[in-house]
Amino acid sequence: MKMATTTSLGEKILFPGCVIPNRLPYIEAASRKVLERLGYKLIDMDGASCCPDSIGMQALDQKTWLAMGARNLSIAEKAKKDIVSLCNGCTETLRSVNHFLNHDLHLYKEVNDILKGIGKEYRGTVDVRHVVAAIYQDVGPEKLRPLVQKPLTRIKIATHHGCHFNRPTHVIDPEGKLGPWDNPTLMDEMLEALGATVVDYDEKYLCCGYAVALADAAPAEKLDAQKFKSLIAAGADYLCVACPSCYLQLEGVQRTLKKDGKLERDIPVLYFTEFLALALGFTPEEIGLNFHAVKPKELIEQLK
């Protein structure tokens, strides 16, 4: 099959985080394949640690969160390469560290004093983008269209960018490149370019509840029941996410919700690059689609 040519999008450091490589490797596989097909050259970050978690570690001790984040950034700075991250949380952490340290000289010095002890220095010279933002900005819906080999026709998808995709906007998206704080549509626009039907629903911007679930599962289940009810009423068959925490929460919660009679049917949850990989012609086997807990059986059938 003739393939539309892609231009080189340069070398980027891939920051896969903790959850995706160590728990959801199929999301990493889809992401790597898609990014390379689009023309990026991916480099691993030597010695990268947990970003660390913008929810967990920041709540435990903000100073440690900043210093560990700055250490990761310092590795990319030394390599003089910008970062593409696969996780809302990692993107938030690394962008926040850049924001805080570049706006607060006291913190900047304090963190660099800590890093000096391990022979590292933070300077604030690299940019960090979420993979969805990177693909949208570097390629975009219009240039994706001719690359589609298997259009996602008749596939009805609800999107969930996730809270930390662009919030807090003054930290994550000060230039307003990701759209309004309560209505980012990057995935919607790109999925439509891939041929899919993107379904709008009332609770589109309702939080997945992952962070609450760390303290108490019940409120998170209520949020998710509300979310699924809304997207099913709107006619969606799939949910597209941009974050592994949202993924784990929204996929994992379905068993409980079904048991409690709060969810009428399975809604397979896919990460954005999985949909993109399928549209670009990668097979479900190549990207390990059958490893999902809520299996997208019909989708796999449809794409045969």
């Binding site: 959801l24 640690s49 947990c50 440690t64 210093a67 807090p168």
Partner: protein, 184 residues
């Protein structure tokens, strides 16, 4: 019931880089009216109340008794986006969580994650089954984190000491809602 007021508590928040926005609050309640957590907890979580209690120095009520419980914040940042006074609510709640953590009052899942990161450099260690799956999927080995450097940072910030006396966990945090198949 006696109410203990701790003026230092308020100053502690006001003295930090984003905590100073605490004093901008005029209690309009926009934060609570839009808050998803407040909505599903019948007010057990209530951001407006957390702010006024911080301003009044009601440390004991907020930190020790968790009324309202700051740990139910979803960190969704909706309140931050909507606040007409630009109060950095999530940042202030982070400071409160840090104070709560230091007194061993955080939910156990948070200490569990902290301990895993201290030991492994990652919040989720690589399992043999996942390593095999990676090979099957044709992706490279996971980058090895520089654990020694992570530990040095935690030593410098004192977090390792706090984790050493933290409550024991029942299960690792991220295991909770993980798909079953993954545990192979």
């Amino acid at each position: 019931m006696t109410t203990t007021i701790n003026f230092e508590f308020r100053n502690q928040i006001l003295g930090t880089h984003n905590g100073n926005t605490l004093s901008y609050c005029y209690q309009c309640g926009t934060c609570s009216s839009g808050c998803p957590s407040a909505q599903v907890t019948d007010g057990v979580y209530n951001p407006r109340k957390i702010i006024i209690e911080s301003l009044l120095g009601l440390q004991q009520k907020l930190i020790e008794k968790k009324v309202p419980d700051v740990w139910l914040c979803a960190t969704c940042q909706k309140c931050v986006e909507q606040c007409p006074q630009d109060v950095e609510l999530t940042e202030i709640f982070t400071l409160l969580k840090n104070l709560s953590s230091a007194q061993n009052l955080a939910p156990k899942a948070f200490y569990a994650q902290g301990k895993t990161i201290l030991a492994e450099g990652m919040s989720i260690p690589l399992q043999a089954a996942i390593a095999r799956r990676r090979t099957q999927l044709g992706i490279p080995e996971v980058v090895k984190p520089a654990v020694v450097e992570v530990q040095a940072i935690m030593k410098a910030t004192g977090l390792n000491q706090k984790l050493a006396v933290a409550p024991k966990e029942e299960a690792a945090p991220k295991q909770k809602s993980a798909p079953k198949e993954e545990a192979v």
